[in-house]
Symmetry: C2
Subunit: 385 residues, 2 copies
Amino acid sequence: MEVKVAGVSTTKFGKHTDSSARELFSEATLNALEDAEVAPQEVEGVYFGNFNGEFSEHQGHMGAMMSDYIGAREAESMRIDSACASSGVAFREAYKAVAGGFQDVAVAGGAETMFIMGTAKATDALAVAADDKFEVQAGLTFPGLYALMARAHMREYGTTREQLAEIAVKNHEFGYNNPYAQFHKKIDIDDVLEARMIATPLGLYDSCPITDGASAVVIVSEEYARENGLEANVSVVGSGLASDSIALQDRDSLTYTPATEIAAKKAYEQAGVDVADVDVAEVHDCFTIAEVLALEALGFYAPGEGGYAAVEGETKLGGRIPVNTSGGLKAKGHPVGATGGAQIVDITEQLRGEHPNQVDGAEIGLAHNAGGTVASAAVHILRRD
Amino acid sequence: MEVKVAGVSTTKFGKHTDSSARELFSEATLNALEDAEVAPQEVEGVYFGNFNGEFSEHQGHMGAMMSDYIGAREAESMRIDSACASSGVAFREAYKAVAGGFQDVAVAGGAETMFIMGTAKATDALAVAADDKFEVQAGLTFPGLYALMARAHMREYGTTREQLAEIAVKNHEFGYNNPYAQFHKKIDIDDVLEARMIATPLGLYDSCPITDGASAVVIVSEEYARENGLEANVSVVGSGLASDSIALQDRDSLTYTPATEIAAKKAYEQAGVDVADVDVAEVHDCFTIAEVLALEALGFYAPGEGGYAAVEGETKLGGRIPVNTSGGLKAKGHPVGATGGAQIVDITEQLRGEHPNQVDGAEIGLAHNAGGTVASAAVHILRRD
């Protein structure tokens, strides 16, 4: 069954300490349903990504909660946790439900409320994406884990702090034009290099922020879209999901993320496209080094070459593959469980020609959402009809 | 695509304070794979149910962890939380993956480690299955919520404590013969009625225990089973999942659980069977009243009549519909995220004719897994080929 993206929306990303996850997700979903011109009671499946609800709101079982709050009380629902890839995986499950002929209308997305925890508790809550027994109890947090990957990349390939800094500069420039982004502040290389160190070699501007927000994507079967006269002109043509060991120590290499490569290979094959066909991509840049790792594992760059992308301008507008035109996790923000869904929102807007940082003539877009130190990776390819 | 159950297993249910979720789930899965005669690296999808990992082991992102620990590191994976229905929903997602043609071999199940938290912390952790803002902060815990439902059923239909007690007696009798059950202790009506009160009218023996354990089910496509000569003679013929408001206060009735009825209707229709065709059922008896509510919503009894089932012996061996021959959540135990998978294990053993409380000639079995106060309900129907 062919799958169409019918409606998309995110809340403003940023600080929403007066709103709970149910409020943020309802806002995003009702706007996405309005965008799709689909009534809430038409929704048959709710695939909800959330990572830290237990810690932030003392709330689990959010799938059922969300199906009710968006106006589809009886729908099939679930909460999916694949750490920072939660809503990328939720989108994958929604895709399977519609593509497999089980449902005609599904909502995928997520929500996260992080600010309410404060930085220390949020850092501790995020750490449950790593291996508690073998990483966290040894003192590692996520900045530390990605710092290890960055150091290894530097040693192995000569990647520099300046190259990483260019990624932050680029993503802040993109975020500046995105009304839904958390940060609207252009920065330069020196801002990045002189910012306080978080976990050497990653400084404050190499790291994504703490963010509240929600995302929602309404997908429908081609048949439903036709019968209901929906203007759904973006198709999901490739979908891949793969895993890796949750602990870095169990891997052969710190500079290679096979889960991304495997998921991407599945998505490319299904879509019948080559990496060179992709016009625009959202990739998981929780830290600047993560964008490098993603570009390499997705096949945009050879191993070790990803550091040159931003410096050479190749991932900016007008470059060969504009990356994170939303601002990315770095500047748009990273409401963990909402991030993968938000990437689909941005890619859809690009393919519709409605993006604030529009890539001229974008026809094929890619979304890459990673969990933990890429122990989970979801890759989706969308195409303008 | 037709879906076959190829292998099943659970750990012993009970106290496993020396084991983590990854150890319990690996044990169950490796045994299920051996039962199936399928190698771990054949597994393409891991659908893992878990509810309280953040609180019990400071561990989220368990899908990726489990795919690695069972020997299928690169497989598609996710952790699903639908509260106490987590692995019923995980089984549904695995089913969709195979039935929809996305995968040939998938593992569904779950694990939970509860004892490590102690009773007070576990009660608090379980409470995140309810609506924190509108129920838990008002002082409600799960025994309290189900006590409200029991009281309403008593007032509305005249259901008695003695009728509920018969359910506990029956399920303990079944558990006595199940080597994997937490309790091997027969009880009588007086034991139940005289036990200390937990939340009026539900006493200690009306309530399921705190349990550690894991379950795993290997499902395969009919084609894969045939090509690999597997002895997979149980088919998944019906699958339904539905939701309700997470908060009791938002419902029209405290004695009716529509999520179960809707999920069951979908499963019956897909299977082409009537409730009268079902030979054996595992239903979600987290409290004795929950078995009554399930029997009514599944259609085995008319509203208000479920209380007579155990008293009349109709849900015992030789009765018209033996229910919870495993011992149920009551006596087998309730390792939250593992429970739905364990129900599929028991039904499969019944249909294979290998159950310690065998129902003679069982051909069609039903598994009903509920989350929260039945805000989520998954119903599956299995058939012996």
